[in-house]
Symmetry: C2
DNA sequence: TAGATTGTTAATCGATTAACAATC
DNA sequence: TAGATTGTTAATCGATTAACAATC
C-alpha cells in the first residue's frame, strides 16, 4: 500500500472494490491469473479503470502476465479491512434483522455476530443458532461489557433516536443503518445509511423513463 | 418537464431525488415554502446543486421566494414515476422477502403487493395480511395471467438463474434484485441490483482507514 | 525473443461549485 | 421598493478513458 495516498482514495474507487473481490472469489481455484481486460468483461468496468484503481494501492500485477487471482483477492480483502474480524450486534430482530443474522452468522469470516436486541417480549430471550435475543434495555450495559465493533440497525424510524444516544457514547466503530432516517455524522463512528426505499425509487424512475 | 432533456439526466441527479423527496415529505403540512439553502441544510447537498438538479426538470421555484413544499414534493414524485401504481410480487418469502412485504404492503401508495412466491412447502399456501404465498412452480402461469410490473427477488443465489428465465420472457418492467449476483442487462426489463454485502464492505473500509 | 499486459501520464469527459443577472 | 432567491452560465474540480513506454 502506498502510504501517502491511503486516505485520499475517492469513494468511487472504494465502491468498485467489492465487485472486483466478488468476481475474483468466483475465480478462486478455477483460474491462476486474470488480466484487466478479462476482469473488465465480467465486472463491466473498463480495463483501464481497473488498472488505475488497483495501481492506487500498489503494484499487484505483472507486466505481460496479468494479476494472480488469489493474491489480488487477498490484497483487496486486506484493503477493505476484512482480514480482521468484527464483532457485530443486530438491533431490531424483526424480519430484516433476522435476514441479516441468518446471512452473516457463521458465513462470512470477517463478521462475528455477538447477539441480537429487540423490544418485543415475545422474542426476547430466544436463541437463534445459539445466539441470544437480548432485551433492548440491556443494550447500554452490553456495549460497556463487550467489545462491539459494528451495529446493524434494523428498527423502525421512531426507535432510532433513543438507540442512537446509547450508540454514540459507546466504543463501536460503525453503524450499518437500515432505518429510513439519515443518522448524523459522528467523530468516531462511521455510518452507512442503506435506504432500500431510495433504491426502489430510482428503479421506478428508470421504468418510467428508460424503456 | 423539459421534453428534450428527459432521457439524458445523469444517474447522479436521479439518485438525489429520493432524498429531496424524503425531506420534503417531512415538511409537508409544516412548511409552505422552502429555499434551496434550507433544503441544503437538511439534505447535505449544496444549494447550488439542488437548484441545478431541479432546473433540469422544470421551473419549479419562484424567484425571491423559494419552492412550494407541496408542489415540489408532487413534482418530484411525478418525475420518479410514482404517481402511478405498480403491481409487485415478492419472490422468496424468507426473512428478507417478508421484511419487504411488511414494509410495503399497504404502506406506500405506489406499491401494490399482489403476492409472494416460495419453494418451501411449509409456507406455501399461507396468507400474510390477506396476501397469499404461492408455490414457485406457479410463477410462469401467474405472470401470464396477472399484470405484474415489478419483482422483488429475494432468493438464494443458486435459485436465481431458473427464476430469471421465467422473468425474462414475461411483461414485467423491473427487477429489484437482492440476490448476490448481478443480473444481466435486458432490453425491456430494468434491473436494480442491491448488494447489501457490498455496502457492508465499504463500511469496513471506512472503519479501517478513516478514523 | 515476440507477444502480452501492466502502471502511469496526458487528454477527455462529466459533474459540482461559484457567481450573478433576472425578477418576484 | 428592497431584499431574497431562483435559474443559468462560466469556471473549477474530479473521474474516466486513451495511449504508450516499460517490461515480464
Amino acid at each position: 500500500m502506498k502510504e501517502d495516498s491511503k486516505s485520499n482514495i475517492p469513494t468511487s474507487v472504494i465502491k468498485r472494490l467489492p465487485k472486483y473481490r466478488r468476481h475474483l472469489k468466483n475465480f478462486l481455484g478455477e483460474l491462476d491469473k486474470i488480466s484487466s481486460s478479462e476482469l473488465s468483461k465480467c465486472t463491466g468496468f473498463s480495463s483501464s479503470q481497473i488498472r488505475q484503481d488497483l495501481s492506487r494501492f500498489g503494484n499487484f500485477g505483472h507486466k505481460g502476465y496479468g494479476y494472480d487471482v488469489q493474491s489480488l483477492y487477498d490484497e483487496i480483502s486486506e484493503i477493505l479491512g476484512i482480514r480482521t474480524r468484527y464483532n457485530l450486534i443486530i438491533i431490531g430482530a424483526g424480519n430484516l434483522g433476522q435476514a441479516l443474522f441468518y446471512y452473516y452468522n457463521d458465513k462470512e469470516d470477517f463478521i462475528n455476530v455477538l447477539g441480537l436486541f429487540d423490544v418485543n417480549p415475545k422474542i426476547v430471550g430466544l436463541k437463534m443458532k445459539g445466539k441470544e435475543v437480548y432485551d433492548i434495555d440491556y443494550l447500554t450495559e452490553f456495549l460497556a461489557n463487550n467489545s462491539v465493533d459494528l451495529v446493524a440497525l434494523c428498527v423502525p424510524r421512531r426507535a432510532v433516536l433513543e438507540i442512537y444516544k446509547s450508540l454514540s457514547v459507546s466504543n463501536i466503530k460503525g453503524i450499518w443503518n437500515f432505518a429510513y432516517v439519515d443518522l448524523p455524522e459522528h467523530d468516531k463512528i462511521n455510518v452507512k445509511n442503506v435506504h432500500l426505499s431510495d433504491s426502489l425509487l430510482t428503479l421506478a424512475y428508470r421504468i418510467k423513463n428508460i424503456e
